[in-house]
Symmetry: C2
Subunit: 247 residues, 2 copies
DNA sequence: GAGTGGTCTAGACCACCAA
DNA sequence: TGGTGGTCTAGACCACTCA
């Protein structure tokens, strides 16, 4: 009801709206509201925590800016999801040079349960010997192979993940992570570089050996900045570009 | 003083705070406040336009989010600048693989006043025959050549730009654009791909021919989404990565 | 019409900065 | 000490959605 709340709750100073944002995030982590569901209205939350609607609004604004929730006027505020068609390719920055829309297809090559070796340790930072699941697949734009994806997740967080389940989900991994395992991905970091295709890679992509590829290393995070998935993508960029917007 | 303002000002509906944001942007374009200078306080602007401080705040929040202005508590709101050391590399996403900080150096190779040809038309969208200035330079990180930059601006917007002026500004082009020509860059779009170094490029970067390079095509914009500069960067990415954050 | 988020106001107090 | 931006409140009205 007043600023005492601020002082009594926490030893270090934090604006009220950030505290509200934190508790909402914690309730999201706890799985209180699943992706796609609505969270309580601003008024309800304000009443529940004894703050004004404006303060709750500012907290939710921040969550909306980070794409953790989505506001819909007249309907409510909803937990973000990768399930919907339009948000499925949220993290895919590769677009056709000519700007055309394309049919995206998946071809699963491998899905194995293995342990972290030195090479994987370097990529992920996971301890050697940790049980993981590795996925290899080919992404095709309009029938032509464009990306080789090598994906790693921890086995303990995605129990029972196998080739069948991936196929059942049409290769929409992020959608599957949140639906089957309650792990929504909220942000990712990528490191890009240019490399030369190896013989094996060139064969998969039907290229000449020596062809240049865009190498994309990605770490994807769930709530609370917890890394949950690592990817290594190798992209053919003669017909596609990686788009980025700087501010 | 009331919502009549909204109705009397514009035929199409636009929230008040967006209208305030627009007029502030127009005053920035008009050059009323230069980069680095402060704009009037929230209270002053609110009084001037007959709206509440909260509405002005929301307009300035939006401008601050777009890095067009910077807020400094206790001091005021300032027009963003590329002059300061920390903001000079705002658009540079290339970082050392090991995360170390590095000394950045510039070597100017060429600076010519030419006309747009077919190739440049394709890159920039400028009409063939338009007078432009082309700049070629080499960027070095800790003494080793990492980027070949090819830069194009329109001659009419940057009259008298030449090699001497670039050297006087130590190659800080964005700082020079705003200081000498009143053209602050506020955002940029980049398209990335992987290519193979030509013989000429390999020589400049002291590489073997056939080495892979990260190709970065950039269009940089000033206020009002007006494109003002085009770049083509070719980067050696064995010791450096292009970092990106996805939300 | 009831409920949601979106905008706007007016006024309070706080944290920070400079003179 | 006075001025700036930062936080917070309480209450109003608007626009949108859905039953």
């Amino acid at each position: 009801m007043n600023n005492m709340t601020k002082l009594s709750n926490t030893p270090v100073f934090k604006p009220l709206y950030e505290q509200i944002k934190s508790v909402i995030t914690e309730r999201l982590i706890a799985g209180e509201w699943k992706p796609g569901e609505s969270i309580p209205s601003e008024m309800d939350l304000a009443a529940h925590y004894g703050v004004s609607q404006g303060t709750v609004r500012k907290a939710i604004d921040a969550l909306a800016k980070e794409n953790i929730v989505v506001r819909r006027q007249g309907k409510g505020t909803f937990v973000s999801t990768h399930k919907e068609e339009k948000s499925k390719l949220r993290f895919l920055r590769l677009t056709a040079v000519d700007g055309s829309k394309e049919l995206l297809e998946n071809e699963l090559l491998e899905c194995n349960r293995i342990k972290v070796n030195a090479e994987i340790e370097k990529l992920t930072g996971l301890k050697i010997g940790t049980a993981i699941i590795e996925i290899k697949r080919l992404l095709k734009f309009s029938q032509s192979s464009v990306i080789i994806d090598y994906i790693i997740v921890q086995a303990k967080s995605f129990k029972g993940l196998n080739a069948t389940k991936i196929k059942e989900n049409n290769g929409s991994l992020y959608s599957m992570y949140e639906t089957l395992y309650g792990v929504p991905m909220v942000r990712a970091e990528e490191k890009l570089s240019a490399v030369i295709a190896t013989k094996e890679q060139a064969d998969l992509l039907k290229l000449e050996p020596g062809f240049p590829l865009l190498r994309i290393e990605r770490t994807a995070y769930t709530y609370g900045d917890k890394p949950m998935e690592w990817r290594l993508g190798l992209c053919v960029t003669d017909e596609h570009h990686y788009m980025n917007f700087l501010e």
